[in-house]
């Protein structure tokens, strides 16, 4: 590469001169390039001050010099005047030259004289001076021009779309006919709307306009019903085997099991928002045998969460029918027997509320608050009562604050009445100013007698069970020293009028006759018992759940000491908290601390009905048996009391 030769050409062109000057030609109405561009480049300019003698400026200046020289030596006038006269006579053209020559000849000393001599023709010179007054000097400058730069841009093309159609006589005709029909329809609709509106305004029953709303709601309503049915069908298809089991499966192996039974797991009910909350209450609806309500809350004092009231139906195990969210955890709930759409709920914060399932709101219809006398401790149980004399709905609630309160729904408000305050025995203290204070015990469970209206039992945290009457507000009818720890549930036998069952965290389940102070049967379940429930179909069958997740089913007419069935029902080592029998089907529902709900079917061994005494009412049958058993036990324990 270094050996490459470059030719260099010397030209006379100015490299800085532009080669493409363009001028607008008006004749041609276009830009035209200029053919010749000046190539001269000036490298150095200096304005000199030499003027040619013969030009106007030159002559003027020379005259100026002469007149200046003549003015100075005025004293030596004689010589000069002579010379001047001589010069005057001579021709004008030569005067200056002669003067100059004479000056030169006379030598330098006489230069001044000679100059003066030249001053002789002043009038002529003055005229010339006057003629050119202006001295022009040209000056030009140019501002700095920024170098130019080219910039180009293109805008986006306008968006275009295609369209096509055909035009025919029939097309136009059809279009017009359609349009007219539409117009007619809209006119009719307006007419009917106007009419209906008028009617309603006249009647003034309800302020709403039905038609516009109906036309919107109708579609949704129609769909919602269909969708509901679809959902249930889909669920049935998915859980088809479970549904079959539920209906038809009878465990044949029960025959070989020697009186023992099993619980067949059926559906699991879950609701994703209720996960992690403990099931604190379960109750079956008295009217709709497949509907049950579950209350969610928390037993843990430290970890209180928002509660939920969720109603499931066995027809749809995937999603609940009704969901109500509450601020505080729910501890108990109860359906009203006559009004199966009313649910009474007790909360962890001591409030009680009534939910109306017929209404679509997510808020309770009635709720207690601090002013209307809510409990100061969690409400452990609520139970509906018969309507009072004014046909007002009322229910009872029991709470750890030791009060049993009757709530009445009077004119859309909950009015409370303290029925009983549970005294803690042996703890009347001397308060200040000599008052006797009674600390209150904590009620944890209660149950009302099925037949005797005023009679009810209350279980307390200390393990006592009080038999109370609604009529006596400060005294109990009786006290049972039932358990060593808190009584979790008390429940009257649905058939036998005297027998009730109680369970406690002291691992025991005890069956009592309320006339006798000591329990009839005691069952130790080796783990804290969360809940116990009588079966609705037999007076000797009951089920209990324990914190180790097991369900125990007993039938006293078959086996007085052992459970017919002990089965792990709760998942993942969670504690089973509640159990309830379905009033019609041989199904139990168990809830646990994680919020899971499991339904189980009772195997045939667990639901044996006494077949012998068909003449009598079947229900009373077991009762007779139990009475016998009672007496047997009594013989064993207290031979004295028999007499």
């Amino acid at each position: 590469e270094l050996k490459e030769e470059f030719t260099r050409i010397l030209t006379a062109n100015n490299p800085h001169a532009p080669q493409n000057i363009v001028r607008y030609s008006f004749k041609k109405r276009a830009y035209k390039p200029v053919s010749y561009v000046d190539q001269m480049a000036i490298h150095f300019t200096l304005n000199g001050n030499m003027i040619p003698k013969d030009s106007d400026e030159g002559r003027r200046q020379s005259i100026k010099l002469i007149t200046a020289a003549e003015k100075d030596p005025v004293e030596t006038s004689a010589v000069t005047s002579e010379e001047a006269e001589i010069k005057d006579e001579e021709s004008t053209g030569d005067t200056q030259a002669a003067g100059e020559e004479e000056a030169e000849e006379s030598g330098k000393a006489e230069v001044a004289e000679a100059a003066e001599g030249e001053e002789s023709p002043p009038p002529r010179v003055k005229e010339q001076k006057l003629a050119n007054q202006f001295n022009f000097i040209e000056r030009a400058s140019r501002t700095l021009n920024n170098p130019t730069r080219e910039r180009a841009c293109q805008s986006e093309p306008t968006p275009c779309a295609d369209f096509s159609a055909t035009v025919n006589q029939w097309e136009t005709y059809d279009a017009y006919v359609e349009e007219l029909q539409k117009v007619e329809k809209s006119k009719e609709k307006e007419k009917t709307k106007a009419q209906v509106a008028k009617r309603e305004e006249e009647k003034k029953k309800k302020g709403r306009k039905f038609t516009s709303l109906e036309s919107q709601i109708d579609d949704i309503k129609k769909i919602s019903k269909a969708v509901k049915i679809m959902e249930r069908m889909v669920n049935q298809n998915i859980f088809d085997d479970i549904a079959q089991d539920f209906k038809y499966f009878e465990d044949a192996s029960d025959e070989y099991r020697d009186q023992k039974g099993t619980l067949l797991p059926l559906w699991n009910f879950q609701y994703h928002k209720a996960r992690g909350r403990a099931v604190t209450a379960i109750s079956w609806n008295p009217k709709y045998k497949d509907l049950f309500a579950v209350g969610y809350g928390s037993y843990d004092f430290m970890k209180q969460c928002q509660g939920m009231l969720v109603l499931y139906t066995m027809k749809n195990p995937s999603f609940p029918e009704y969901v109500f969210s509450t601020e505080s955890g729910i501890m108990c709930l109860d359906f009203h027997n006559d009004h199966p759409y009313l649910v009474a709920v007790g909360f962890y914060d001591g409030n009680v509320a009534i939910y109306n399932l017929k209404k679509a709101t997510s808020q309770p219809s009635y709720k207690s608050n601090a002013m209307s006398g809510k409990h100061t401790e969690p409400v452990w149980q609520v139970k509906w009562q018969k309507d009072d004399m004014d046909n007002n709905l009322n229910f009872f609630s029991v709470s750890s604050d030791g009060r049993i309160v009757s709530w009445t729904l009077v004119k859309n408000e909950l009015v409370h009445t303290d029925v009983i305050k549970l005294p803690a025995q042996g703890t009347t203290m001397q308060g200040p100013e000599g008052l006797q204070l009674q600390t209150l015990g904590c009620g944890t469970a209660f149950d009302f007698h099925k037949k005797i209206d005023y009679l009810f039992l209350v279980g307390t945290e200390e393990g006592k069970i009080y038999k109370c009457s609604k009529r006596y507000s400060s005294q109990f009818l009786d006290v049972f020293e039932a358990h060593h720890m808190a009584v979790d549930t008390v429940s009257w036998n649905p058939y036998h009028l005297k027998v009730f069952i109680s369970c406690s965290s002291d691992w025991t389940v005890k069956i009592w006759d309320h006339t006798i102070k000591t329990p009839m049967f005691i069952f130790d379940l080796s783990s804290a018992v969360g809940d116990v429930a009588w079966s609705p179909y037999s007076s000797t069958v009951f089920a209990a759940v324990t914190t180790d997740g097991k369900a125990h089913v007993y039938d006293l007419s078959i086996n007085k000491y052992e459970a017919l069935c002990t089965q792990l029902v709760a998942k993942k080592k969670s504690k089973a908290t509640h159990i309830q029998f379905n009033p019609v089907y041989p199904v139990v529902v168990v809830g646990d601390e994680q919020g899971h709900i499991i339904s189980l079917k009772l195997s045939p061994n667990l639901r044996k009905m006494p077949k012998e005494k068909k003449g009598q009412e079947v229900k009373k049958g077991p009762e007779v048996e139990i009475a016998k058993l009672d007496k047997l036990l009594n013989l064993v324990r207290d031979p004295e009391s028999k007499a």
Partner: protein
């Protein structure tokens, strides 16, 4: 006689009833649409016999008002497939049997 009488009545009815301008398809903004429609109606009523003049009038007015390069087709029986600038198309019926298609495309 009755039939022809009825036939005539129907014709008259149909002419009377179907005379209003019926927009079949448009994606113009509201103002533009209203103006264009009125312009078409005016043009068609003015030049009932001469579709070309009507179209010319419409096109020139649209060019003036809304920018260059509008195209107008008026007729009773034709099919078309066009590319138009978005939001610059009007396709309507008028007078019971006349169809007007106005679109912009440069």
């Amino acid at each position: 006689m009755a039939d022809t009488g009825e036939g005539k009545k129907e014709e008259a009815d149909y002419k009377r009833l179907h005379n209003f301008p019926l927009i079949r398809h448009t994606d113009m903004p509201e103002e533009m649409r209203v103006e264009a429609m009125e312009l078409c109606v005016t043009a068609c009523e003015k030049y009932t016999t001469n579709n070309e003049s009507a179209a010319k009038m419409i096109k020139e007015m649209m060019d003036k008002k809304f920018g260059s390069s509008w195209h107008v087709v008026i007729g009773e029986s034709f099919g078309f497939e066009i590319t138009h600038e978005v939001k610059n198309l009007l396709y309507m019926f008028f007078g019971g049997n006349l169809a007007v298609c106005v679109w912009k495309c440069s």
